[in-house]
Amino acid sequence: MQLSYKSCKVAENINLSEDIYKLKVEGDYDIKAGQFFMIKSLNEEPILPRPISVHDFEEGYVSFLYQKKGRGTSIMAKLNVNDEIKLTGPLGNGFDAENIKGKIAVVAGGIGIAPMLYTVKSLKNCDIDLYVGFKDEVYEVDEFKKFVSNIYIATESGKYGYKGYVTDIFSPFEYNAVLCCGPEVMMEKVVKVCRDYATPIFVSMEKHMACGIGACLGCTCETKDGNKRVCKDGPVFYGRDVFINA
């Protein structure tokens, strides 16, 4: 397989909500739902690129939804239109969209919603419900309306939807499969309840990364089959393979 590392031009970089940004860059790729890119600005620091999921992809443009956290994402937040950034990818296994069928629940926590837009667009012949939890502000949910049947929102502050966690309002009952991305504690809870219903669940894992392509073994996660590389063998795993004790 041929992988690309190249300069891409920023077409848009907008602040959606408090610390949430959407970045659109020029680029033509063959992308699977749930894959990610390693993104690096031209600045010398930080030295490592940052893994960011494909949020959306339309002819000639890749979009990313990201949260400003530390050194890397702060620099991303300052990018202007026409700036160049370096992209490596697309990377990772992604969701096996071809083989996911029937009534599907997508469960996302906060910025875990990022990989899910292109994912719901990629799922063919599925009936999808979106469950999503936020701390306070709700963002990007409207984009999903065209592609899903129902949207269930929880906010910790109670500002929108149910007051509490998304795990409080989600039940795998009736779903053929569940796709999940968010904080580990949340994913673990979802895996647990899916186990009770014997519902297949796919989780997208997150680890600190250096190479992003499987060479450094820095991003391993323990699975029932031993250590796996999140960047290459993942980021998508069967929920029960990684949350063994859930």
Binding site: L3, Y5, R71, H208, C211, I213, L217, G218, C219, N227
Partner: protein, 307 residues
């Protein structure tokens, strides 16, 4: 013309011929396969494998990577499939890559090193790089890389079983890097490579505890270059075997500095993560530098900063 360019970069280490003096460093390049997705790794001078041990290792738990200013601290812990599995599954693929294959060998005891060297000696690897310097596992060999006497012991023993050119990889944590180098040569090292990572740490001030489960881990990357270069310079002055310079190399300029300090070749590690094409860019950069400066053969500038 292209032929001439290739000629001027050709490098020999212990009678093994390298197309050019740029080698991918152990632990940062897997077994070469991943980077083959970016370019023909046959254009490299050589590839050092991920550190191998006699038996398979799962590596360390907890966070394994932490970025610092111009650096990376890693606590991989020599995760690897074991020598047998390497020889069976990885080496055949590597042999097709058309570059020099250097097996990097870690170990927890003299016996384990010796056993490893025996097995690798019977394999098709071109050279063995003895890692007596990994700070990330008790059995990673760093204990052997601190005191010259201990290093002398392990290298002497291993040398007896070694049928391949033996490179000994030194730790910057050595008490005295020059003495260490001299002792390793006395013990039979055919070449030296330096440096491995610095013992370092980071603390998560919100969790109020060390970032790494093992507390300490290894620092690499551009930040360490000025110290690595000094060590290579000092060692080259005192030994007669070829020295491979390592530590923070991220551009052709860095590589040339190491060569002018006396290194026969260089290994590039962390910089591969910053830019997956970096090894090729370094090779091309060296070539262009030599053309611009009218240098016909890299020998002309090797060690020139010491004169």
């Amino acid at each position: 013309m292209a032929g001439m360019c290739l000629l001027m970069l050709k490098t020999n280490i212990c009678k093994v011929e390298f197309k050019n003096p740029v080698i991918a460093a152990s632990g940062t390049f897997g077994f070469g396969e991943e980077y083959s997705a970016f370019y023909d790794v046959g254009r490299l001078g050589g590839i050092c494998t991920k550190g191998l041990t006699l038996n398979k290792k799962e590596g360390n738990k907890g966070i394994r990577l932490h970025e610092t200013r111009a650096g990376l601290i890693n606590s991989i812990g020599l995760q690897n499939p074991g020598i047998d599995c390497f020889i069976e599954n990885e080496l055949p693929k590597m042999k097709k890559m058309n570059t020099v294959i250097i097996a990097n060998l870690g170990g927890g005891s003299i016996e384990e090193y010796a056993e490893g060297v025996k097995k690798l000696s019977e394999s098709e690897v071109d050279m063995i790089e003895l890692n007596i310097s990994c700070p990330n596992v008790k059995s990673g060999g760093m204990a052997f890389g601190i005191k010259s006497e201990t290093a002398f012991e392990v290298v002497s023993k291993v040398k007896g079983y070694c049928k391949k050119p033996l490179i000994v990889k030194l730790s910057p944590n050595a008490e005295n890097i020059v003495d260490m180098a001299v002792k390793c040569c006395e013990a039979g090292a055919d070449a030296l490579s330096l440096i491995n990572t610095f013992k370092a740490m980071a603390i998560d001030i919100y969790k109020r505890k060390p970032v790494f489960d093992n507390i300490f881990a290894g620092l690499s990357g551009p930040c360490i270059k000025p110290i690595a270069l000094r060590m290579v310079y000092e060692v080259c002055k005192e030994v007669n075997v070829p020295v491979i310079g390592i530590g923070g190399i991220e551009s052709f300029k860095d590589a040339i500095e190491f060569i002018m300090a006396g290194a026969t070749a260089v290994e590039v590690g962390t910089a591969n993560f910053i830019n997956p094409m970096v090894c090729l860019e370094i090779i091309d950069g060296i070539k262009k530098f030599m053309e611009d400066e009218g240098i016909k053969n890299i020998e002309e500038i090797r060690g020139i900063a010491r004169r």
